[in-house]
């Protein structure tokens, strides 16, 4: 069967949340059948690469197979967080879309 490239946005949902200078992004497969391919390709390293411009000091992926979901935790990517960032989005609310732009093979 031939494989095709898709953006994560085509098969998954994502939501950002913040605590201080730490960001978490929940990634949820719309069809649980995609969980294994996402698990194989959207590694913590891959996510760290997608967020390279934000210089994460640590990226951890937590797996939730019951929910066909993952939780990515990225340290020190919010430019100090909502009380310190000079940017418009100190919460990092828009950053889920950086994750959703990652392309994978399905």
């Amino acid at each position: 069967m031939s494989k095709t490239m898709v953006e994560l946005r085509d098969i998954a949902n994502a939501r950002s949340g913040d605590k201080g200078n730490r960001l978490n992004i929940a990634l949820v497969c719309r069809d649980p059948a995609h969980y294994p391919v996402v698990a194989a390709q959207v590694t913590a390293d891959r996510v760290a690469e997608a967020f390279a411009s934000r210089k994460p000091t640590r990226v951890v992926r937590y797996d939730l197979p019951n929910l066909a979901a993952f939780n990515f935790v990225l340290d020190d990517v919010l430019e100090g967080g909502v009380n310190a960032s000079l940017g418009l989005d100190g919460h990092g609310k828009s950053l889920s879309f950086l994750l959703l732009a990652i392309t994978i093979e399905v």
């Binding site: 946005r9 085509d10 949902n13 994502a14 939501r15 949340g17 913040d18 605590k19 201080g20 730490r22 978490n24 929940a26 949820v28 719309r30 411009s53 934000r54 210089k55 937590y62 939730l64 019951n66 929910l67 979901a69 939780n71 935790v73 430019e79 909502v82 009380n83 310190a84 960032s85 000079l86 940017g87 418009l88 989005d89 828009s94 950053l95 879309f97 950086l98």
Partner: protein, 455 residues
């Protein structure tokens, strides 16, 4: 003892819609069981701002939208026996309680029994040095100036006690957001303090609805991929919980929004770090066994929360003065806009190099590179090919005068900058720096005071 409890969310943050609670109350009034309406309106820095307001006026310091949240629903809640629980007390829960009593009087209602949960405020009870020694992941407090606010996240027990004492309305300051739901459940079901799996389920129910519409289609829509019906009239959530901790999330019939596997899982993981160990004051919640099942349109069952004994320490948020944030914007449009905007940015940066060489300045090009860029270099404006460009400059300093140097230079571009500079807007915002501390439970002193017993 109740068999089933219904808890609706009337607000999920301080700036939330003040007409959201009405349809939730109407739906709760038709439910058969113990019923509660919760308001979560207290962000991290909100409390420090409220503390500053209380210092200026001792009758203030609670959520400024209190009346607009409460007045539209108070009569219906009292009539139907729906208890109200909210952290809108902020830095002054007693003043908020008195205000609610006054609202009831103005509306010609019977005097509600109002309880205040206090004891979250650490000011005067813990010294700055003691707080500094308990700061997590940093040393900001050791070198900071005056502490503006220091508040523990209290747990759910005092809320349950207030309801046990017959309160119609429970006003709190800082409590864990999820405690606004767990407290009513402990009260209604008689859950014990070491019934870890049930406390975990109640914490999960609270976590799911504490952000209001974020579980019913808010913070979710992405047209064409994730469509949400009638988001303009999104229904706020109602959690139904049984005595064993089974949860069903729904929303008022006929309201907008959607409740399904997708909306619920996104919120389930919102602001979570390790899903096996979500730390709350009353329990450590393990989400790894949770399952989510659509049981009817806009009704989702959530089961499988597990709990472990509560953490030894409580989290506190401490706020200190963070100086001033200054922001100024200017636009360039039409032919060659990118080059003129680039020139404008270069002029401002050159002027600041001479006048305030130590001030760190951020430049954004709104609509081209702002949110997903990174601080530092000026973005490549020309590459985007836009002919409608808004430049944003930002800096932070200890004093207004320092950031004004930047804002004045941006404004001066009108006459002294490139052609066609337009629409300057500038503002300064006082900033609060916040840190987290872990505090031993011996410093916690939660108390319940009924308004009619207040001095």
């Amino acid at each position: 003892m109740a068999q089933r409890v219904f808890i609706g969310a009337g607000a999920g943050f301080a700036g939330d819609r003040t007409d959201a609670a009405g349809p939730v109350v109407d739906a709760l009034a038709r439910c058969d069981g113990a019923r509660f309406l919760m308001f979560e309106t207290l962000a991290e820095r909100t409390l420090a701002l409220a503390q500053l307001e209380r210092r200026r006026d001792s009758s203030r310091g609670y959520n400024p939208s209190l009346e607009r949240f409460i007045a539209p629903i108070l009569a219906r809640c009292l009539d139907a026996g729906i208890k109200i629980v909210g952290n809108f007390g902020s830095a002054n829960p007693h003043a908020a309680a008195r205000r609610i009593a006054a609202i009831a009087q103005d509306l010609g209602l019977r005097p509600p029994r109002i309880a205040v949960v206090e004891g979250d405020d650490l000011m005067g009870r813990v010294t700055a040095a003691e707080l500094a020694a308990r700061e997590t992941g940093g040393t900001l407090l050791a070198k900071a100036g005056e502490i503006i606010s220091a508040n523990l996240y209290l747990g759910a027990r005092p809320i349950a006690q207030a309801l046990d004492q017959g309160a119609d309305v429970v006003v709190t300051g800082r409590v864990a957001d999820s405690a606004l739901v767990l407290g009513p459940l402990m009260h209604a079901f008689g859950w014990r303090d070491d019934d870890w799996d049930r406390l975990a389920a109640g914490t999960l129910a609270g976590h799911l609805i504490e952000c209001g519409a974020q579980v019913t289609g808010g913070y979710f829509a992405d047209p064409g991929v994730k469509d949400v019906p009638n988001l303009a009239e999104v229904g706020y959530p109602i959690a139904e919980i049984d005595r064993d901790g089974g949860i069903v999330i729904g929303k008022p019939a006929g309201s907008g929004g959607r409740v399904d596997r997708q909306t619920v899982i996104e919120q389930l993981l919102y602001e979570i770090h390790d899903p096996a160990a979500y730390l709350a004051p009353d329990v450590v919640l393990d989400l790894t066994g949770v399952t989510v099942e659509e049981i009817a349109p806009d009704r989702v069952r959530v089961i499988g929360a597990r709990g472990r004994p509560a953490p030894e320490t409580l989290k506190a948020t401490v706020c200190v003065d963070g100086g001033v944030l200054g922001e100024a914007e200017i636009s360039y449009a039409g032919v060659n806009a990118a080059a003129r905007a680039r020139l404008a940015a270069d002029i401002v940066l050159e002027r600041l190099r001479q006048r305030a060489p130590l001030l760190a300045i951020r430049v954004d090009v709104i609509g081209v590179v702002s949110l997903l860029g990174s601080a530092g270099a000026v973005p490549d404006i020309a590459a985007a090919g836009s002919s409608d460009i808004r430049l944003r400059f930002a800096a932070q300093a200890a004093t207004q005068a320092e950031v004004d140097i930047l804002l004045d230079e941006v404004e001066a571009l009108y006459c002294a900058g490139p052609a066609g500079g337009a629409g300057v807007r500038r503002r300064t915002t006082p900033r609060l720096a916040s840190v987290s501390c872990l505090i031993e439970r011996k410093f916690a002193d939660p108390r319940v005071v009924m308004l009619d017993a207040m001095p």
